[in-house]
């Protein structure tokens, strides 16, 4: 039997998507912080450490359940899912692949590192114009803001720096 590694588990977790933004996996989002085998002498187990994006994000419970399901489906039952709050999740942890997927999906990816304050140049994911206007600080979910492109006139979601 193939020895189970952290790498294999991460591969499985790649198939767990954010229910609100189904093109992004929880690895793309930086929600999975660590996968580690805890060598408890009596009962060794896998510890999956995750961090929530936004405090009230209803997707987090769904994501936890999906992680459980995928591990059970692969015959793993000796695991624990640990939620950590610190360091607080930031869009800086989003992978480059994730940013590209977002853009292709029609959501403008976070433009700057969360530490930078300049949010002025959000680029339209449809036409690439930087001539855009914020409509609302909050979009369809807490992680997004609503923008409008002044060039192609299409409204779009912007995944905010956080």
């Amino acid at each position: 039997m193939k020895l189970l590694t952290e790498h294999t588990i991460l591969e499985w977790l790649e198939s767990v998507k954010d229910p609100e933004v189904p093109v992004l996996s929880i690895l793309d989002l930086g929600i999975v912080r660590k996968v580690e085998l805890i060598n408890d002498p009596i009962n060794p187990f896998w510890e999956i450490t995750i961090t929530p994006t936004y405090s009230g994000c209803p997707a987090m419970d769904v994501i936890s359940t999906q992680i459980r399901m995928i591990l059970f489906a692969n015959g793993i039952s000796n695991f624990r899912i640990k939620q950590v709050l610190s360091p607080a999740w930031t869009t800086d942890w989003m992978s480059d692949a994730g940013r590209e997927k977002l853009k292709a999906y029609g959501i403008a990816p976070p433009q700057y590192s969360a530490s930078g304050k300049d949010n002025s140049k959000v680029v339209c994911p449809n036409c690439g114009s930087a001539d855009t206007t914020v409509i609302s600080e909050f979009g369809s979910t807490a992680c997004k803001a609503l923008y409008r492109c002044e060039n192609c006139l299409e409204p779009f979601d912007y995944f905010k720096c956080h």
């Binding site: 405090s55 009230g56 994000c57 610190s86 607080a88 609302s136």
Partner: protein
């Protein structure tokens, strides 16, 4: 129960009660985008409340859960600020209260990030980023409506006339805060007062509203002495658990 337990409940209750009040706007906001914005703020607050309740429950043990803390305590056991339970008269009242509280909450969490209790520090760190949005969003509305039409201005002045009697409660240290501050587990709210005034003042100025924080204030929320409004709020919020005890989704 110990001081830390009471402090955690105070932090959680503030977030839960304001989150619930805001959620009453769901489907009633002036425009769709703002309806969604306020609902998102409610979710953030609900999430923060859950972290504090979960932590309190993990310390309390024996059958105490985040749900029992939220759904099975009565008015006299709630420790939120009175201002957060007041019913919304209009959108102006909602955004002004949100701004005044978010600005206070921001200063508080900013300090709690360095608290000696790791769990409180982590929750504060996580929530601070969200509260920064709440401040920004509500501040814009206060300015827009204060310096808006004759009607919106009139409503903002009326809202402040109610809120000014309550916001002073933010800055009264409770017994547990005094005790916990000694071991750097809480923040003495008195130390936040001047900074809060210096941030709120220019916003009121820009909104062409008159601001003066008076000495006298309504108080008692932290001791469980609430307004008549909290009972009605809890009756609605706790209805399912009270009617079908132990019910789960």
């Amino acid at each position: 129960m110990d001081h830390l337990h009471n402090y955690l409940l105070h932090l959680a209750d503030n977030a839960l009660i304001l989150g619930h009040r805001n959620s009453e706007w769901c489907g009633h906001g002036p425009v769709l985008e703002q309806d969604i914005a306020l609902t998102n703020i409610s979710l953030d607050l609900l999430g923060q409340a859950r972290y504090f309740y979960q932590y309190a429950a993990s310390r309390a043990g024996a059958g105490v859960t985040e749900d029992s803390l939220a759904y099975l305590r009565d008015t006299r056991e709630f420790k939120n600020f009175l201002v957060l339970e007041l019913p919304d008269s209009d959108w102006g009242f909602t955004v002004l209260r949100q701004y005044l509280f978010s600005q206070y909450q921001y200063l508080l969490y900013e300090k709690l990030v360095d608290a000696s209790d790791q769990e409180i520090a982590a929750i504060a760190e996580k929530s601070l980023k969200e509260v920064a949005y709440h401040v920004r969003w509500s501040k814009e509305w206060v300015i827009r409506l204060g310096d808006g039409t004759t009607e919106s201005r009139k409503k903002m002045i009326a809202s402040w006339n109610i809120l000014k009697d309550y916001v002073g409660e933010f800055f009264i240290a409770s017994d547990e805060e005094k005790m916990l501050t000694e071991s750097n587990m809480a923040v003495d709210p008195v130390t936040l007062r001047e900074k809060w005034i210096s941030l709120v003042n220019p916003v009121f100025e820009e909104a062409t509203l008159e601001f003066r924080l008076q000495k006298w204030t309504q108080q008692g929320g932290r001791q469980g002495m609430h307004t008549e409004h909290l009972g009605y709020l809890l009756a609605e919020m706790q209805y399912m658990q009270r009617t079908y005890p132990g019910m789960e989704w």
